[in-house]
């Protein structure tokens, strides 16, 4: 991580001094990298790996652990999540983790434990978030008496794997949540200009996160059983209406903003409706992972997806507030 931090500083130095070559000192051998746009000049010495320090490492890991704990605590204290870890098909758990991993990498691209600048760093960042989350979930579940260390490995892995996904999102978000409040970092992620694809991606993360909070609960299924198709239509309309209100309230201040000159239907078509479809897709994915769709026909599946899409849509629309 120290080396990664060094690279980040190198880029920062390059931004300050465009006519420079950077000499990045690695532990084994030095590497000289030309700065894009740079021509010549004195090399800029960047901190060595050991300059990074144990204190900084501990602070980054502590932030990630804190973020993981805060974001996953509601699920760590949900009974259905303990049970799902017991009986859920390992293939579904694997798919959940495999789908989450690239999302974490992309999320790290935007908000990470560190200010990473290349894909390898982002992959390491995502893996670190998953690892820290696994440890946090294990410790908490052991303290709750939910997990015993003498349990079979597959049971242990199931209980931890299902919990570490939301926790890892929290671990990655720790930087934006904690670093911002401590006055670190010159560039707030919220203020970064976001392309259209980035907006949709953030919506997906927001939908995944809020959907994960309620998808495993029995209440979510019970709500769909108690509803009629009329109720579902009303809930769908409310979800889209609230999403659109959030789109305007939050303003989507990134690269695909809404502007006062635009007609109302433009952000509705470009942001709100795709956001709702993303929320629906995330809902269906989570329902499949949690085996909530098994044995149901199309009508029930649509009803259940519309119910889960309500919190997911709010999560998607408020992603810029949450993330």
């Amino acid at each position: 991580m120290g080396r990664l931090n060094g690279l980040s500083e190198a880029h920062a130095a390059a931004a300050r001094e465009p006519e420079a070559f950077l000499r990045v000192s690695l532990p084994s051998r030095p590497v000289v990298r030309p700065v894009p746009g740079g021509r010549s000049g004195a090399p800029v010495q960047v901190r060595r790996r050991d300059d990074y320090g144990i204190a900084q490492l501990a602070r980054d890991v502590g932030r990630a652990g804190g973020g993981a704990l805060i974001f996953s605590l509601p699920m760590l204290m949900t009974m259905e999540m303990w049970d799902l870890g017991l009986y859920l098909d390992p293939v579904r758990l694997l798919v959940l983790v495999l789908v989450t991993l690239p999302m974490l990498v992309l999320l790290s691209r935007r908000i990470g434990i560190e200010s990473t600048r290349n894909w390898r760093d982002d992959c390491l960042d995502a893996a670190l978030a998953l690892g820290i989350s696994a440890v946090v979930c294990l410790v908490v579940l052991v303290l709750f008496g939910v997990v015993r260390l003498d349990e079979p490995a597959d049971v242990l892995a199931g209980k931890i794997a299902i919990q570490m996904v939301p926790a890892s999102i929290g671990a990655l978000l720790a930087r934006s949540q904690f670093a911002g409040s401590s006055g670190e970092g010159n560039e707030s992620p919220r203020e970064a200009r976001e392309p259209y694809g980035g907006e949709l991606f953030l919506m997906g993360i927001g939908a995944l996160f809020l959907g994960l909070n309620v998808a495993p609960t029995e209440e979510m299924m019970l709500i769909s059983y108690q509803m009629s198709a009329w109720h579902a239509l009303g809930l769908l309309a409310l979800s889209i209406g609230l999403m659109h209100a959030f789109v305007f309230a939050v303003g989507f201040a990134g690269g695909s903003p809404t502007s006062p000159e635009e007609p109302w239907w433009s952000p509705f078509l470009r942001l709100t409706l795709p956001g709702y479809v993303i929320a629906l897709a995330m809902s269906l994915f989570l329902l499949w992972v949690f085996a909530r769709l098994d044995g149901q026909e199309a009508g029930s599946i649509v009803m259940t997806a519309v119910v889960l899409a309500f919190p997911s849509a709010l999560g998607a629309a408020a992603a810029r507030l949450v993330l």
Partner: protein, 134 residues
């Protein structure tokens, strides 16, 4: 002003409009489906039936896996499935299992366990005892 609005909207990259129109089509399909269900679906009462899925000989008895199907439109809660058979000593054996929910037009699976290893599907009488509204 209206012309300005149109000009602003038209400056958006084409991909944003394509994604928007595809999303609108998908949401319209879901609304149409729900509207059809609301108007013509008809929330019929639960129509429950239980049948044998498979019978497995276990080391200490027989495992009878059953499927409960709800052909009605409404969800049934607390569905109790019962099986009755004659034991090896001529005594009547009854066993029940309870399903928390069986949604409309959906199936749920469960299993009965018998100590007798010689149970055959022909010996079993399956029935639904009752249910409640969710």
């Amino acid at each position: 002003m209206a012309e300005g609005n149109r000009r602003e909207a038209g400056h958006r990259p084409a991909i944003e409009w394509v994604v928007g129109f595809v999303s609108a089509a998908l949401v319209s399909c879901i609304i149409a489906f729900l509207a059809y269900e609301a108007l013509f679906g008809g929330a019929t009462p639960p129509d429950l039936a239980v049948s044998i899925d498979r019978v497995d000989r276990m080391r200490n008895g027989t495992l009878v896996e059953v499927i409960v199907r709800n052909d009605g439109g409404r969800t049934a809660a607390g569905v109790v499935a019962q099986v009755a058979t004659m034991g090896a000593a001529g005594q009547r054996i009854r066993k029940t299992i309870r399903f928390d929910y069986v949604p409309g037009h959906a199936t749920r699976r469960g299993a009965f366990l018998f100590d007798d290893a010689g149970i055959s599907p022909a010996d079993l009488q399956l029935s639904i005892d009752g249910f409640t509204e969710p």
